[in-house]
Amino acid sequence: MNGAPQMPEPLLSVRGLRVAFGTPRHELVAVDGVDFDVRRGEVLGLAGESGSGKSLTLRAILRLVKPPARISGQVLWRGRDVQRMTEPEVRGVRGGEIAIIFQEPMSALNPVLTVGAQILENLEEHTDLDAAARQARAIELLDLVGIPAAGSRIDDYPHQFSGGMRQRAMIAIALASNPKLLLADEPTTALDVTIQDQILKLILRLRRDLNMSMVLVTHDLGVIAQTCDRLAVMYAGRVVEAGPVADIFAQPRHAYTLGLLNSVPRGGALRQPLSSIAGQPPLLSDRLTGCAFAPRCPFVVPECGAGKPPLTSIAPMHDTACLQHRKVGQR
């Protein structure tokens, strides 16, 4: 499960994805030209702080961002552009080949339907099973995600489940359609650390057994280190660094990634000041011409203000949008 599989053909290919709010004259660009690929069987982590556009990117893939937001760019799913599909076509993909789970299972689950009914709904929409087979499959799915006594819990309502069990139920619903790609938006952020551990390991087990690919959005670098094959770091609506998790953790090549990794306390150097990143992330209304991180960057040079640095390849499968990547790499 270590290392990205060497499949050249990406399953999902996102190119120039852009999500903007506001009026055309006063445009607020929340996702600003995001590119990434997800290969078969791999787990891609999308990391960033609040407001970096990571969740919006995930939702935009499935066209879950509604007007007045404007989405543009390309989302190629097995060669077809999701952005150009008709609404019925999108519905076939969304919740079918591509499933999504959210941070708050209580608000994502329907409180007035039993958990069983919500799994059956998905089975009915996306599989050819008959009623009896669907019922059996629903129990099997609940059992698969580790809900004890699945046969008797299937008629429970979401409020009768604990937080961890709700997240398991949501995963069961997502799996009902045998998805090839699972999008997970901070799936463990609302959970306690021992439950988070159980859910992450469950997701990884399912990924292996069902041969799924995954995109995992999280702000927790520990979660990334423990679960992802590749990582894309987002800042102010753009991917600033992307590459294999092991490479980025060993030697970050963007000043922001370096700052982020250094902000997390590790064992040793107790009660010493942490190396924080000065200042605040930019607001959507700030119109930046250069690198969005430049005002907070300790490596800044005048050229950083001259235009948004493009994501460029510096090593096999390792890209960065930092003009100072050599200097950053030496740290």
Binding site: T194, A225, R266, P273, S276, A278
Partner: protein, 354 residues
């Protein structure tokens, strides 16, 4: 920056108990269902030395926030004793109680919820200063700018409202508000949990610096093990309303004595991608505080649970130098070397009644 704490305890908490009645619905009342009680704290005891940072860590529902609120008497504990610098805190009245509340200040997780949205930063800070008559007249304004400087906010922040600030800045205002009354102890309840990691580091650095400068004693309550490890001199681990282990930070992280601590450490995702595990750190979920398990509260999830754990509640016992844990597993090992089971049970009874 490691100003070691002095050994004298400034705060001593003994056998603190707290429970909440759960509201009954009309239906429950009509059908005669009994009142349900949530046991939030079940006999919590610990000491904090002057100038020390004691980390209190645990998952949601373990009682860590209830403990914080009991310590500043936002809740009145059902039983137990809190001593602070010679004072019997739970008996304080009137002026003495206000003075205690000045000396022990709480900083909350959500500064937006704890700051008055209709008051400017200056009004918020000045109110606290004037209430305790710490400054008068023009000295108040001088103190306000001094406080803003202390938490590294620009001077023009004074005349702005809480909603004009970012999360990290609001947390700085929360800290300034607590420091306005010149406390000697801060209780920080999930101080940085709502903040992004880069901003978290800024606030942690500020707290470390202020503690050094103002000789503060800090109770740092959090669920994040990495933060707790970084900032605490000693750490108490709570589970379902009890402290299950208490030790110096590095002892606790390197050689945990309680199976729950061990599970918690294992469950925390490590920052090293080369070290991954595929086995669950601990099975099961937290039992409901409405129906606590008999015996050790952790036994339904514990991989080492024995018969004794299902019947008898373990108490905190010394495990080594400045290290205590509440677990029968190690009691058993110690007992077989020195004492018979009966002697030990008698001893346990003695301890628990003392």
């Amino acid at each position: 920056m490691s100003a070691g704490p002095q050994s004298a305890a400034i705060m001593q908490v003994d056998d603190l108990h707290m429970a909440f009645k759960r509201p009954r619905s009309t239906f429950d009342r009509l059908t005669g269902k009994p009142m349900r009680i949530v046991h939030a704290l079940n006999g919590v005891s610990f000491q904090v030395a002057r100038g020390e940072t004691l980390g209190i860590v645990g998952e949601s529902g373990c009682g860590k926030s209830t403990l914080a609120r009991c310590l500043v008497r936002l809740y009145e504990p059902l039983a137990g004793r809190i001593r602070y610098d010679g004072l019997d805190v739970l008996k304080l009245q009137g002026k003495a109680r206000r003075e205690y509340n000045r000396r022990v200040q709480m900083v909350f997780q959500d500064p937006y919820g704890s700051l008055n949205p209709r008051m400017t930063v200056r009004q918020t800070l000045a109110e606290a200063i004037s209430f305790h008559r710490l400054r008068e007249g023009t000295a108040v304004a001088a103190r306000v700018s001094e406080l803003l400087g202390l938490v590294r906010l620009p001077n023009d922040a004074a005349d702005r409202y809480p909603h004009e600030f970012s999360g990290g800045q609001r947390q700085r205002i929360g800290i300034a508000r607590a420091l306005a009354v010149e406390p000697d102890c801060l209780i920080a309840d999930e101080l940085v949990s709502a903040l992004d990691v880069s901003v978290q580091a800024q606030i942690i650095n500020l707290l470390l610096e202020l503690q050094q400068k103002l000789h503060l004693t800090v109770l740092f309550i959090a669920h994040d093990l990495r933060l707790i490890r970084h900032i605490s001199h000693r750490v108490a681990v709570m589970y379902l309303g009890s402290i299950v282990e208490l030790a110096e930070t590095e002892t606790l992280f390197n050689s945990p004595a309680h199976p729950y601590t061990e599970a918690l450490l294992k469950a925390a995702p490590e920052l090293d991608p080369a070290r991954r595990s595929v086995i669950d750190a601990v099975r099961g979920e937290l039992p409901s505080p409405l129906a606590l398990p008999v015996g050790c509260p952790f036994h339904p999830r514990c991989p080492y649970a024995m018969d004794r754990c299902r019947g008898e509640r373990p108490v905190l016992r010394p495990r080594g130098e400045k290290h205590e844990a509440a677990c029968h597993l190690h009691d058993g090992a110690l007992a077989s070397a020195a004492r018979t089971g009966e002697e030990l049970a008698a001893l346990a009874r003695q301890r628990s009644s003392a």
